[in-house]
């Protein structure tokens, strides 16, 4: 018998925690601003109570730091965390594999390839308020997606194994290409490497808006299918006998996840572990039912990423540790703990 924490507690507690995390993260950072002042700045921008907050003594540059550097960064981290966790949960269900992770589709390598091309060639430019690297990363991701889909969805079944293999092989190919490029342009090697490690340091509101669009779109497309996804995980034949077009559902879910992952990786690099372990954390708390798993994973993914990013930019301030290192430091031991627990119970998933 698995103990389940009351669902209501989760539905209220986790979003609440997210709000707390967002506000507190936006209040800390490398700049020397009193936490109370940060809170004042944030509150002053809220619709109803904003007018009552006294912000007269706060330096204008502090406003810029909090509202145009920290806040978009926290928001972007949350959105990317949500996106990665959501895609991770969906892919784990659709591939019937608890080890599935958003980066397994090869899209992230495509984004990295696009970014490394942009960096090596020295592409600058500001497109819609985003750097050329982001744009190129996205294009790289899209091209990779279409290649992987074409290979994976060939033939009758669109089988899980085919998708995984397509993703892995394309990923390897692209990684090799990136390595060659890094070697040919040694002076840009560090930049490419750092981009790939993942960072939210260049978060801007246009990027936030891009992610909002993609995440909302994905949620609208995925959440209604939550129950069908549950059924899909019992097997293609089993699902079809219950009226679900397994192949089409799987395709649709992978397409949507791919686009979401493409957006996430383009703005922030390759950040691992969030997509892998956040769904597992939620499963431990509330079971595999996608109706709870998917939305809660979004919230939890946001919390996880914001916390990791806040640590990344405050532990060694003003230096920044790549956020992917923090997610790995927290994520890997947690994952080992999950495995150990699962083996002790003799239970899978």
């Amino acid at each position: 018998m698995r103990k389940r924490i009351f669902p209501t507690l989760l539905w209220i507690g986790i979003p609440l925690l997210l709000v707390v995390v967002v506000i507190s993260s936006a209040s800390v950072g490398a700049a020397d601003i009193k936490i109370l002042d940060s809170l004042r700045v944030l509150l002053s921008k809220m619709p109803v109570i904003g007018g009552t907050v006294d912000v007269s003594k706060i330096r204008p540059n502090d406003f810029i730091i909090i509202l145009r550097i920290r806040l978009p960064r926290v928001l972007l981290a949350g959105l990317v965390g949500s996106g990665l966790a959501l895609s991770g949960a969906v892919l784990q269900g659709v591939m019937r594999n608890p080890l599935a992770d958003p980066h397994v589709l090869g899209i992230s390598s495509g984004a990295a390839f696009g970014a490394s091309v942009a960096i090596s060639v020295g592409l600058g430019g500001v497109v819609f308020g985003m750097g050329g690297t982001t744009a190129f990363a996205f294009i790289g991701a899209l091209i990779t997606i279409s290649i992987v889909w074409r290979i994976a969805f060939r033939g009758q079944r669109g089988a899980v194994v085919g998708i995984l293999l397509a993703g892995i092989s394309v990923s390897s190919l692209l990684t090799a290409a990136i390595t060659m490029m890094m070697v040919m342009r040694r002076d840009q090697l560090e930049k490419v490497y750092l981009w790939m490690l993942g960072s939210f340091s260049s978060a801007t509101y246009p990027k936030v808006i891009l992610l909002v669009i993609f995440l909302t779109g994905a949620l609208f497309a995925i959440l209604p299918a939550a129950f069908s996804l549950d059924i899909l995980s019992t097997g293609d034949e089993s699902a079809e006998s219950l009226g679900i077009d397994a192949r089409r559902l799987r395709r649709r879910m992978i397409v949507i996840s791919s686009l979401l992952v493409a957006a996430c990786v383009s703005v922030s690099g390759i950040i691992g572990f969030a997509g892998l372990i956040v769904p597992h954390m939620i499963r431990l708390l509330s079971g595999s039912g996608n109706r709870r798993l998917l939305p809660l994973s979004c919230f939890a993914g946001a919390i996880f990423m914001i916390v990791c990013d806040t640590l990344a930019r405050t532990i060694a301030a003003p230096s920044e540790i790549p956020v992917g290192a923090i997610t790995a430091l927290i994520g890997a031991p947690f994952f080992l703990f999950l495995l150990w627990k699962a083996r002790a119970k003799g239970v899978g998933g």
Partner: protein, 322 residues
């Protein structure tokens, strides 16, 4: 492996004075060095053996304390550092250069010299075909390459200067000594001093501008010159106050940049437009006041004679003539 090890051990013994006279030209170089010398243990020393009237064979200890013996005047040199390449040309020894790295792009005539690849992993094969009698390297050069080349019997000297102007002048002097261009080295150093001196006269020490040097920004992360870097030394020398002098290394935070809001910002000239257009940089006072300047980073990042021009440029930006 054991052979290499013992070779290293052998060559890494601290320098000692050998018996014998020192020739007059070296003495002048030594005294030139000692002028700028402060109370530091100077890892570089040049000495000769007995034969009067001739510099060579010369024993020289480089920045790592490795002793190299230069048999005769070098005629075929491979330079594994952009700053060394520039220096050789400045000393008038440019025709002796037979090999350079991909990154040696100044002066223009350097481009016509054969390239041996990158700084940290130059192509040993290409070096061999060029048949140099001396290889000079600087920072970034790896121990692996050093061993590979010395094992093949090449003479390799590595000059890894200190992160300030004096170190640069030491390198000029040392290279000059090796190339028997002592007088040229001396005049270079004097010229540098002169230009720097006249430049820093314009400094108003009461009104130093705060400065930020953007190595990179935006998607690539925020990097600047920390307090322990050479660029920092130049900025300070040119009468600026580097806002990042309290950090070591290069990694910075855009928050701190906005918090400190410097008077002047220096950016790579090719990235100037991007900087001005990108969030949140465009909110900085320096951007709004037109105090963001695009410069050629080689003038202040690459140690060498051109730093004099670099200082002149910085001073002209920090203290514009009315």
């Amino acid at each position: 492996m054991a052979v290499v090890f013992s070779l290293c051990l052998f060559s890494c013994t601290p320098a000692t004075e050998p018996p014998g006279e020192t020739s007059p030209s070296i003495e002048s170089v030594l005294s030139a060095i000692s002028e700028f010398d402060t109370v530091r243990t100077e890892p570089e020393e040049t000495e000769t053996s007995e034969t009067a009237g001739s510099l060579y064979p010369m024993a020289i200890d480089d920045s790592y304390g490795n002793r190299a013996i230069i048999e005769k005047e070098p005629m075929r040199i491979v330079s594994l550092a952009p700053n060394i390449t520039e220096l050789l040309f400045d000393l008038g020894a440019g025709e002796k250069l037979v090999g350079r790295t991909d990154y040696c792009n100044y002066p223009e005539s350097a481009l016509s010299i054969a390239s041996v690849g990158s700084i940290d992993m130059p192509s040993v094969e290409t070096i061999v075909t060029l048949d140099p009698d001396l290889i000079i390297a600087s920072s970034i050069f790896t121990e692996a390459s050093y061993e590979a080349l010395t094992e093949l019997g090449y003479t390799v000297v590595v000059f890894h200067e200190e992160y300030d102007m004096d170190g640069v002048k030491d390198v000029i002097a040392s290279v000059g000594a090796i190339m028997d261009c002592g007088t040229e080295a001396q005049s270079l150093i004097e010229a540098m001093d002169q230009r720097i001196q006249s430049a820093i006269e314009k400094i108003d020490s009461e009104n130093r501008p705060s400065v930020y040097y953007a190595v990179s920004f935006g998607d690539y992360g925020d990097y600047t010159a920390g307090g322990d870097t050479y660029v920092n030394a130049l900025i300070e020398m040119a009468g600026g106050v580097n806002i990042a002098s309290d950090i070591t290394g290069w990694s910075y935070s855009v928050e701190k940049l906005v918090e400190k809001d410097p008077d002047i910002i220096l950016v790579n000239e090719y990235m100037l437009a991007d900087f001005m257009a990108l969030e949140p940089y465009k909110n900085l006072s320096a951007v709004k006041n037109g105090q963001v300047f695009g410069i050629n980073p080689d003038l202040i990042e690459r140690q060498g004679f051109r730093n004099a021009a670099g200082i002149e440029l910085l001073v002209s930006l920090f203290y514009p003539a009315e």
